[in-house]
């Protein structure tokens, strides 16, 4: 991809970011509930009208809507993403503190997913309508249908409570603490991806170049590994990018079940506490990470697919 196109994409990203943040700002502004009341409630104090008004003024909530948004965005451009109402810390610090654990969880669950679904998807496609295919399709259907929280709770029940292999909850974030949440995330993803891999491989197996490779005397296995798989992986890269983006945004349900200190829990607490700056920061982060991952995916296609390289 030419740098000109990348620049254009970056500019588009900026516009989208402004749009998204404006919209969330508007929505939180219109939503019922008052951050000042919520703050006093969380402290267990019944505030007077003066106290509330004072708190609102401190939060900048007494200003007109556009002024509030203007202040926020000017702050952002200077690297100041505001201060959390509920935690009294800079939003940026709060997000950055949670990011490593979310990142680790995302990478681990994607890795588990890849290890499971790529071989199973291939097997399922190659043995189409066979016993293996039948079982894999059945199990993956189950995996897609089961809600993540149920899988998480079942895993917790068996591995932590019944077998006692892992702790139910723990304050530090090591491999052991990541294992169950990442397996929970991976089960749902693997089910989806196994089916995607199967579909992609099946589609490629019916391409003419497979007949061509056979006509040149290549064996089934060689054709599968050297020709079919690289082609089949192309459409999956986009999906993988989206999954990675959504994982980096935090996975609230799983994080809450396993008390895993990621971005998802932070986001839920921000919403509950009407913590506008934190919500804004979180939304900004999600929008940003989605677009960056998508941009990286598009750039990567230029290196992987010669047809796209040529088209640009």
């Amino acid at each position: 991809m030419k740098s000109k196109i990348i620049l254009k994409r970056l500019l588009q990203m900026l516009i989208v970011l402004i749009g998204i943040t404006f919209l969330t700002f508007l929505l939180t502004y219109l939503a019922p509930g008052d951050p000042a009341t919520a703050m006093y409630e969380s402290m267990g104090v019944v505030p007077t009208e003066e106290q509330l008004a004072q708190a609102r003024a401190n939060m900048g909530l007494d200003q007109p809507f556009l002024t509030q948004y203007g202040r926020w965005i000017t702050g952002c451009l200077q690297g100041d993403f505001g201060t959390s109402f509920t935690k009294n810390q800079p939003v940026l610090d709060l997000l950055l503190k949670r990011l490593p654990s979310t990142f680790k969880l995302a990478v681990l669950s994607l890795a588990i997913m890849a290890v499971v679904s790529i071989p199973l998807g291939i097997l399922s496609a190659v043995k189409q309508d066979g016993i293996a295919d039948f079982i894999i399709r059945g199990v993956s259907f189950l995996g897609i249908s089961l809600p993540g929280f149920l899988i998480g709770l079942l895993l917790l029940y068996f591995f932590a409570l019944k077998l006692g292999w892992l702790k139910v909850a723990s304050s530090n974030v090591g491999f052991e603490q990541m294992l169950l949440p990442s397996i929970t995330l991976a089960i749902a993803m693997s089910s989806k991806y196994t089916r995607q891999v199967r579909t992609a491989v099946l589609e490629e197996l019916h391409q003419d170049y497979v007949i061509g490779a056979k006509a040149r005397g290549l064996k089934q296995g060689e054709i599968l590994w050297k020709h079919v798989l690289p082609n089949a992986m192309l459409p999956l890269i986009t999906m993988l990018g989206l999954s990675f983006g959504s994982l980096l945004g935090g996975t609230s349900v799983v994080e809450i079940i396993f008390s895993y200190p990621g971005l998802g829990i932070l986001a839920v607490s921000a919403v509950n506490g009407r913590d506008y700056p934190l919500i804004q920061g979180f939304v900004l982060w999600i929008a940003l990470i989605y677009m960056v991952v998508n941009l990286l995916v598009d750039i990567s296609y230029n290196y992987i697919d010669p047809r796209i390289r040529e088209a640009k």
Binding site: D208, Y209, I211, R216, L218, D305, P306
Partner: protein
């Protein structure tokens, strides 16, 4: 060299090729003509062992140099394909992997059948391309399929198919996707190879002109059966069957002369 004895191919319980009989000597060129669905492609796919999953040879036998191809294992067939029996397709460009360079696939193919280094295989590939009058073989080896024109891709396909001077070349509509000038070049190159290396050719085509020009014998097919066969003189000048006459009548004429 080749004996197809009463071959019947069945697709999903329906026969698409019925009682197909073909006996060929080394160096012979035979055309299969007929409309789409007449079973002509099925005949050569059955011989090449490349029928789609639903299709299989339900009756008869296919002998190549006296050995039954039907009793060979998949690995034995793979060794045969591309070395002693080769195939070219209507669009050879679609027959190569779109995301790998032609050179990589050519080298892979050569090294499949001959134990030589990558460098030697590469040189051999370039030499084959240049023998096909493709200018700048190096450049083609570095290209991807989609970067070449239809005619060039077809010649790349033929160059690959001819690399090991096969005993038998199967050509499935090799010219029908090309313009007339390129068609003539491709036909001439196939004839050349037939003369130089004694390669037998089975050409599947709906183009009676190409069939008449190239072949010693023409088999006219309809609904999975051979309805008429003979040398070109016989088929073109004295067709016995109504179907053959219809096929001949369908040839476009130019200034009163049949374009054959």
């Amino acid at each position: 060299m080749l004996n197809m004895n009463h071959v019947t191919v069945t697709y999903n319980d329906r026969p698409t090729l019925i009682d197909f009989d073909l006996h060929m000597k080394q160096g012979e060129i035979v055309s299969l003509v007929g409309e789409s669905g007449s079973g002509k492609t099925t005949a050569i796919r059955a011989l090449f062992g490349l029928l789609p999953h639903e299709g299989y040879v339900s009756d008869g036998d296919i002998l190549f140099e006296g050995e039954s191809l039907l009793s060979k294992s998949e690995d034995e067939m793979a060794r045969l394909r591309g070395s002693r029996i080769s195939m070219i397709f209507q669009d050879s460009g679609a027959m190569i992997n779109p995301i790998r360079r032609i050179g990589a696939q050519f080298v892979e193919y050569i090294r499949k059948h001959e134990k030589i280094s990558k460098k030697e295989a590469y040189r051999k590939g370039v030499a084959m391309l240049e023998a096909m009058r493709l200018p700048d073989g190096d450049n083609i080896m570095r290209s991807y399929g989609f970067q070449l024109s239809g005619g060039m891709r077809q010649r790349v396909g033929i160059a690959m198919a001819m690399t090991f001077r096969p005993d038998l070349l199967l050509a499935d509509e090799p010219t029908s996707a090309l313009d007339v000038t390129t068609q003539a070049q491709i036909v001439r190159q196939m004839m050349d190879l037939n003369k130089k290396t004694g390669t037998s050719i089975i050409i599947v085509t709906h183009n009676l002109g190409v069939a008449a020009y190239m072949s010693d014998r023409i088999l006219v097919m309809q609904n999975g059966r051979i309805v008429e066969q003979g040398d070109r003189e016989q088929i073109l000048k004295h067709p016995q069957q109504e179907y053959t006459q219809k096929l001949l009548a369908a040839i476009p004429t130019m200034e009163g002369e049949a374009y054959v």
